[in-house]
């Protein structure tokens, strides 16, 4: 049974999230990330809040923190959210972690809808060529 404290926390988390959302829409990503963070302190089990924090951090330029937030979101309950998995894959690729990025992309393909799946497969083939070229360049050097 939900206690009053949890109810209040969840209520405040939702309220705080909305404020963070407004800031995100205004382009104030760091402020939005702070609000999302407060939100997570109040309701740490909501993976969507974690993923929102990741988005805000990514837009704010904090890639490493964003990746950690995305990973937390995947661990908590977003392991079947193709959009979240793709965002994680993109962030990992941007950081240069090609293998984990590829793995995350494969997971995203697995859980995506058919049309999005086709798109992601095309992206995957592009990435594959890119990674191959990079490896060949490294081996040549």
């Amino acid at each position: 049974m939900m206690t009053n404290k949890i109810k209040l926390d969840k209520w405040q988390a939702a309220d705080t999230f909305k404020r963070g959302y407004s800031l995100f829409r205004c382009g104030q990503y760091d402020e939005a990330a702070n609000y999302f963070l407060m939100c997570i302190l109040l309701a740490p089990k909501e993976y969507l809040y974690w993923s929102s924090l990741g988005h805000a951090q990514r837009r704010g330029g904090n890639l490493n923190e964003a990746i950690e937030s995305y990973k937390a979101a995947v661990l908590i309950g977003g392991s079947k959210d193709s959009d979240l998995l793709f965002a994680l894959a993109e962030s990992l690729k941007e950081r240069g972690d090609n293998r984990p990025a590829f793995k995350a992309l494969k997971e995203a393909i697995l859980h995506a809808e058919p049309e999005f799946q086709t798109r992601l497969k095309m992206i995957k083939s592009g990435w594959y060529k890119e990674f191959k070229n990079l490896e060949s360049e490294r081996s040549e050097n």
Binding site: L37, S52, R119
Partner: protein, 294 residues
Amino acid sequence: MRIEREIVQPYPPHTLPYNPETIAPKPSAVIEAVQEAKKPQPAGMLSNLYNWFKNLFSETPGETEKGAPPTIVEQDRISKHMHQISQLQAHHKDMLDDTFDPLALATEIGLEKAWVKAQIDQIKIRENQIELNQEELKQIHEAIQKIKGKIDELMAKENENGRKAVIFGNLEVASCALIVATLIVFSSVSLASALTSGAAIGPGLAASLPAIKVTAEALGMLAGGASALAKSVYKFKANSYDAKILGARHKRQVGYSKSDDLIDRMKEASEAVTAGYKNAAELEKKKNEAIRSF
């Protein structure tokens, strides 16, 4: 996590619920959240049932009492965001879209989903937050007691009916058994008396003949009794079937006779019409002949 800027909007400083500068995010927050998420949840239906029973007989209101439903504004907002999500997802299907940016779409969809989730959470919490006062609780308990009393009463009535049916059924069987037993006892007594009387007449052949005769009579009586019983049972059955299933015979007979009368009259009427046609045809023929003769 890095927190650099001071938050001034949209919360005024005095209403800010938490100061992000003073509350440092815990490094173990992720681990705690994962552990919380991995905890086994109670089975849905069983827990609902348990809560329902608990609420039914507990003094404090539980989770099932519903409060204010979502307002029109809230519904509109949710539907707007849902529409936004569906529009964003439609971009995934458009294979000819050159400006397709999956990361931007993933960000937008994630945010919209989170917004909808937050709004629904708030509505759910508000619905569950309305509590009943003592007077309302008392009324609910009284209503429950009334319903329970009514159910008990109905159950008792059903039980009573069932018991009565069993008793009468047993009585019927017992009465039949008593009749048969009486008949057999009576027949056997008469048979025994006949035998003894026959034996008392004498050991000789001449003496044994009346005994055999009496024995045969007794057996005949027994058979007669049995047949009489069978006949009466059959008659009772036939009468009861008549009364219960077939209905009153005389009423049916009256109905039959009425329908017979009706059929007879219809026949008469049709014959008269046919005869009328015949007569008319004959008259027409005679008229034509008369015309030709001129």
